[in-house]
């Protein structure tokens, strides 16, 4: 999985591409922790190029959302491809996480 970081005025966007499984999850978790430690209050996860997410990946998403909220900010998930949206729906994530159509809507 590749992670591309873009810094905006008030938000940090992490664009994920490829497969987010148990082997890729620790790197993403580390990246998210670094973003939150740097004081970014708005974390945007762009999933438009994400092909797969496993249970380990979903746990990283849930942890990111919880940590962001605890830090007084938010984590927003944008541009979910159909297979990822299906996994989010199955897990109830569509109702508990902040989901928006694209990066612009999350900034």
């Amino acid at each position: 999985m590749e992670i591309t970081k873009t810094q905006h005025a008030t938000a940090t966007v992490l664009a994920l591409s490829g497969r987010l499984d148990g082997l890729a999850s620790p790197a993403l978790e580390k990246e998210i922790d670094a973003v939150l430690a740097a004081g970014s209050k708005v974390l945007v996860l762009d999933l438009s190029a994400l092909a797969y997410v496993s249970s380990a990946g979903l746990r990283v998403f849930l942890t990111a959302a919880k940590k962001s909220k605890t830090a007084g900010g938010r984590a927003t998930f944008v541009a979910l491809p159909a297979p990822i949206r299906e996994v989010f729906e199955l897990s109830g994530f569509l109702t508990v996480l902040d989901i928006r159509p694209d990066v612009a809507a999350a900034l």
Binding site: G22, S55, L62, A65, L90, S91, G92
Partner: protein
């Protein structure tokens, strides 16, 4: 898992899911198992074992299959035996397959969890005679702090709107699947939060599969029950 399980290495380490589920399945006062559906505890303990392996970063799951991420031993004999079984399977199998395998080893899981909870001085082991002949073993609570803490945490999560951390989401999912949650939180405040509980319970795949296994079994048993009075 043919060899007996041994207690976990450190008595002050956090409880595993296997220990936590069994602790919550026991009545605080009597030490007896709370009423559960047929094979409810079997599947809940099997799910707890898989959840322990997942949070130890040894396995990963999706709706199709369970895969091994790392064969390195965790240091917990119970988990390492299960990991060995999964790792040496000829091909990756589904979560429901492994739930079936480990549910059939309920007595090993239950005995190991009880031994550990006694070693941690949370439970005591008590032998009693029934009709002066039959031995009955009970596990009354010695230290209820762990139960009180987890119930307080889960209660706040159910009654509030905070996001759960993955560990609590898994626990709620397993407790809901095995119908234990409704026994533990049995009053109007929680009944009014059934939608919230359902949302939290859906968040973990292993918990969803445990629920599916228990519900399927209940349906099969209902269908197979002969109609009386014919």
């Amino acid at each position: 898992m043919t060899t007996p399980a041994t207690p976990s290495a450190h008595p002050h380490s956090p409880l595993s899911f296997v220990e936590e589920i069994l602790l919550l399945a026991l009545d605080d006062t009597t030490g007896a198992l709370r009423p559960m559906p047929v094979m409810g505890l079997d599947y809940a303990l099997a799910g707890a074992l898989l959840a322990d392996l997942a949070l130890a970063n040894r396995i990963d799951t999706d709706p199709q299959q369970l895969v091994v991420l790392d064969r390195a031993p965790t240091g917990d004999p119970l988990l390492d035996r299960a990991l060995g079984q999964i790792a040496t399977a000829p091909a990756p199998q589904s979560v429901s397959h492994w739930l079936g395998v480990f549910a059939s080893e309920r007595s090993t899981l239950e005995r190991a969890a009880l031994e550990r909870l006694v070693a941690r001085r949370i439970l005591a082991q008590q032998e009693k005679k029934f009709l002066w002949v039959f031995g009955v073993r009970r596990y009354p609570t010695v230290d209820n702090q762990e139960r009180v803490e987890v119930r307080t945490r889960l209660s706040a999560l159910i009654l509030g709107d905070e996001l759960p951390d993955p560990r609590d989401a898994i626990l709620i999912s397993l407790l809901t699947a095995s119908h234990l949650l409704a026994r533990i939180f049995d009053d109007a405040r929680y009944h009014a939060r059934s939608e919230r509980i359902a949302t939290l319970a859906r968040m973990d795949l292993v918990g969803r599969e445990v629920a599916a296994a228990i519900d399927t079994l209940a349906r099969v048993l209902r269908t197979a029950t002969p109609v009386m009075g014919m």
